[in-house]
């Protein structure tokens, strides 16, 4: 017994309307974009200098997530994959998000406990 499947044998050089070469071009373009942006203070460029570094991080991560989605969706054929495989990846990513959130929340909250050694290293 097996779940209903609809896995194509990919005899075309594209998956879901976009060719591998187009994806490749996009990936290279995004790489150039992210490297270029890293030389610029995004916060200042957008007129919010107080978020300088944070803005750079957000832009960098957004670009990385875009690249990642392209690879997963097209190169890894997630667009044709079975539901269970999508679920596996989704579940792992959800757990990753839980861990990141919990760990950050624990360490970056300066209430009752102060990670003063780290703060001292920062010169705060």
């Amino acid at each position: 017994m097996s779940a209903p499947v609809h896995v194509e044998t990919h005899t075309e050089d594209h998956a879901g309307g976009i060719t591998y070469f187009e994806v490749f071009g996009l990936l290279i373009a995004l790489t150039i974009l992210t490297v270029t942006i890293s030389y610029v203070n995004v916060g200042e460029a957008l007129g919010i200098p107080q978020f300088g570094r944070a803005a750079n991080i957000i832009v960098g991560l957004v670009v990385a997530v875009c690249k990642c989605s392209l690879v997963v969706w097209v190169f890894m054929h997630m667009n044709h994959e079975t539901r269970i495989n999508r679920f596996v990846l989704g579940f792992a990513i959800a757990l990753m998000a839980i861990f990141f959130t919990a760990a950050s929340f624990d360490f970056l909250w300066l209430g009752t406990y102060v990670h003063s050694f780290a703060r001292a290293a920062l010169g705060l």
Partner: protein, 197 residues
């Protein structure tokens, strides 16, 4: 043709589809577990960087990283093409793209070796500061994954040459492809995290 190949020739397409889905499930589960493996590293890195290690000097040359990104993306493309040709049953082209992917992986490791040499010559060992610790931890384990991928690619190239794969049976190449794209994915996050931000 080998025994395995002859055997696979007599099996029905339905069987191949079942087998392929089974293997894909196994591979995705493995990749899910790999995601969790790197989650611990990235989680620790996020915490340490946000909590204060921002002031550490990042002695990385971002052009080397960018070069390696391009190399890995290209290898992902060649791998995708190898999978595609193996599904068409084109053994010659499959072998060619597998070899190309292997060479690009070599390229990646050579660049990495040059970088490591620079760090060591400047005295930037893992113990230098917490940033270098994370740098070597993350790139080291990523490098091990690249090495593993190269071993797989070598074996597959040889098996492809021997004639194990045809348009019905090419799961191992497809699974190696999934793995290789994952290695690429990790780098896509490593690069901005370590070199740019």
């Amino acid at each position: 043709m080998s025994d395995a190949s002859q055997h696979h020739a007599i099996l029905s397409p339905a069987f191949h589809k079942d087998r392929r889905n089974l293997r894909a499930l196994g591979m995705w589960l493995f990749l899910g577990s790999e995601v969790m493996f790197f989650t611990a590293f990235f989680g620790a890195y996020i915490v340490v960087r946000s909590a204060g290690a921002a002031s550490v000097a990042m002695p990385l040359e971002r052009m080397w990283g960018a070069l390696n990104t391009v190399v890995l993306i290209t290898s992902s493309l060649t791998m995708a093409l190898a999978v595609q040709f193996s599904k068409k049953g084109d053994r010659a082209k499959t072998g060619r793209y597998l070899a190309l992917t292997f060479l690009l992986a070599c390229c990646f490791l050579v660049v990495k070796a040059i970088e490591y040499t620079h760090h060591f010559m400047e005295g930037n060992f893992p113990s230098h500061d917490i940033f270098m610790g994370f740098y070597f931890l993350l790139t080291g384990f990523h490098g091990l994954h690249v090495l593993g991928g190269m071993v797989a690619m070598g074996i597959l190239w040889w098996r492809n040459r021997r004639g194990d794969f045809n348009e019905h049976y090419n799961d191992p190449i497809e699974m190696a492809g999934l793995y290789w794209h994952f290695v690429d994915l990790v780098w896509i996050f490593l690069f901005p995290a370590l070199y740019l931000l």
